[in-house]
């Protein structure tokens, strides 16, 4: 008796039910065949063999005709083993080396895919996204979309928050949550719900956090109670390939179509050009302390970031801009040539276009000014940075209003601004009003 033995991936092993049964039955039926039935059996055998041959020929033709992506032949499976699940190839079921390929564990435990398969998936995804007019957006959690604190880190002045927490039965309308089972409180950044709703129409969104998996899942439930935005695209720190670094190698999207929103630049050293750096959201006192700020946190000041004017709203404007630039290109232009990184750079370069900036006593004298963070920020924003003043200079950036260059600026009615003007412009993606960043006589700190 044979069960389906004509499948292209036939091979007998102890897994095979047919051979298992054969083995079990062979021990008990050895004495039941009689001579009279011998001829009939022979006929049956030959018929069966003929039938099997015919079936085998049919399969050969099928395989040759079909445009199956799996290459198989009758004798053996020439399978490329593009991925594995639980140590078995996803196409032919054979055992493969455990560590081959990249672990895509956030989708399901035990799933691994190797490079050609990842490339194929990314290409297929790209075509899909171009049809839907969507790009990819990777979101960090902590200090970008929300701020969490452990309960035992909270100060006594923050106790009022515990009684003001929003109900967990109505997550959609809340922003401050008490999570008893995780012993923490979480505050969502203002405007985050509107942001996610609008971004969802232009982007397929992913969460990528340095928190662990249970934390990531809980936060996803708070941000996305209807499970519309993220599905299974929640990457936590255990899913990354490198410690302390985030990478796009586990993301199933083309690098030229991914934008990243994160508050930490160092986590994305390999993908700086895709990154939109966000201003950190410090709500709880422990968060300020963690970064060494001695200022009062928003919870102690009993205030919050502006809803419509805050970081998320500005970033949303930028995202809309880049998205429309990407999809409004000339349709004759090959889509594969468009790179979201180029568009991001050009949007940034427009912000301070035309400005010529000189820095005064902002950098230490021995330090090469071109490598200073502020210089680089200003250049990325489209400004030209100079070392010496001349008549074309438009801005002087200084800490002290009594330096030569500062006095020159006041005399020539050029803008004299605090370095924070450059930083604010960088984070808010909008040229800030210079008058809001005056250089005052600073008290010694």
């Amino acid at each position: 008796m044979t069960i389906v033995s004509d499948s292209p991936v036939h091979s007998s092993s102890s897994d095979d039910f047919a051979s298992f049964l054969d083995a079990e039955l062979a021990t008990s039926t050895s004495d039941s065949s009689a001579d009279e039935e011998g001829d009939e059996e022979e006929n049956l055998e030959s018929k069966r063999v003929k039938r099997r041959k015919v079936e085998v020929l049919e399969i050969l033709e099928d395989v040759q005709d079909s445009t199956a992506r799996v290459e198989t032949s009758k004798e053996e499976a020439i399978c490329a083993h593009p991925g594995s699940f639980g140590g078995m190839c996803i196409i032919c079921g054979q055992r493969v080396a455990e560590e081959a390929g990249v672990a895509i564990a956030y989708i399901h435990k035990g799933l691994r895919l190797d490079s050609p398969e990842l490339v194929r998936l990314r290409n297929a995804d790209m075509k899909n996204k171009l049809n839907q007019k969507k790009l990819h957006l990777i979101l960090d959690l902590d200090h970008t979309l929300l701020n969490s604190t452990m309960l035992f880190h909270m100060t006594s002045e923050e106790d009022y928050l515990k009684s003001n927490a929003d109900s967990l039965q109505d997550i959609q309308n809340g922003s401050l949550f008490m999570l008893e089972h995780m012993r923490m409180m979480t505050k969502l950044r203002p405007y985050v719900r509107q942001f996610l709703k609008e971004a969802n129409e232009m982007f397929e969104m992913h969460i990528y956090t340095m928190g662990d998996k249970p934390y990531a899942r809980e936060m996803a439930k708070l941000l996305d109670p209807g499970d519309q935005y993220f599905n299974d695209r929640i990457i936590s720190r255990d899913d990354g390939t490198q410690k302390h670094q985030k990478g796009l190698d586990v993301v199933l999207a083309e690098e030229s179509a991914v934008l990243i929103l994160d508050d930490t630049e160092n986590a994305w050293t390999k993908h700086r050009e895709n990154l939109i750096l966000m201003e950190r959201y410090h709500f709880f006192a422990s968060s300020c302390q963690q970064f060494g700020f001695r200022c009062k946190s928003l919870s102690l000041l009993k205030s919050d970031e502006s809803d419509t004017d805050g970081a998320l709203a500005s970033v949303l404007r930028v995202l809309k801009r880049v998205h429309s630039m990407y999809f409004d290109e000339d349709p004759r232009d090959a889509p594969s040539n468009r790179d979201v990184r180029e568009f991001l750079k050009s949007v940034r370069k427009e912000i301070l276009q035309g400005c010529r900036i000189v820095f005064s006593r902002v950098f230490p004298t021995s330090f090469p000014p071109e490598s200073h963070q502020l210089w680089k920020m200003a250049e990325q924003l489209g400004a030209t940075c100079l070392v010496e003043v001349d008549s074309s200079v438009t801005h002087v950036v200084a800490n002290d209003p009594n330096t030569e260059k500062s006095k020159w600026a006041t005399n020539e009615t050029k803008y004299l601004v605090h370095p924070q003007w450059i930083e604010a412009t960088y984070y808010l993606w909008q040229r800030q009003v210079e008058d809001k960043y005056p250089v005052n006589q600073s008290k010694s700190q």
């Binding site: 996803i90 196409i91 899909n128």
Partner: protein, 176 residues
Amino acid sequence: MFFHITLERNMQLHPRHFGRNLKENLVTKLMKDVEGTCSGRHGFVVAITGIENVGKGLIRDGTGFVTFPVKYQCVVFRPFKGQILEAVVTMVNKMGFFAEAGPVQIFVSNHLIPDDMEFQSGDMPNYTTSDGSVKIQKDSEVRLKLIGTRVDATEIFCIGTIKDDFLGVINDPTTS
């Protein structure tokens, strides 16, 4: 496939359980230890149906524990390569879909989904034929064929296909 087999196990019992209820305690402990576990050879033990025989207890030297060899009958579930199985879809994504049949996790890669089914992303990701007549989404029931199995200490992983005849969606959750 389900099997009803006899297995044997050495159970260690603490002296506090000795007394009138020795046998009951032994049986309870056996059930707690064995039901729901997996072994490479037998598969997943679903339920113990009866105790065939409890052997003589052997006192372990140095401790007060006593070891009883217990023969029991149980229903086991062991998937086989080549087996046809019905499963419920738990997750659908662009790489294929994941389905569950009891404790067994099955992955069907999109290479092994018929070519006329395309992946549609969105709120409820699914695979649909070009005319929309057949849809595979979360909670659909599908009939699939296993092409590889692996039994772990606690879980069973399988690779499946629906590319052959008579395989595919049995029940659409939206209609029933």
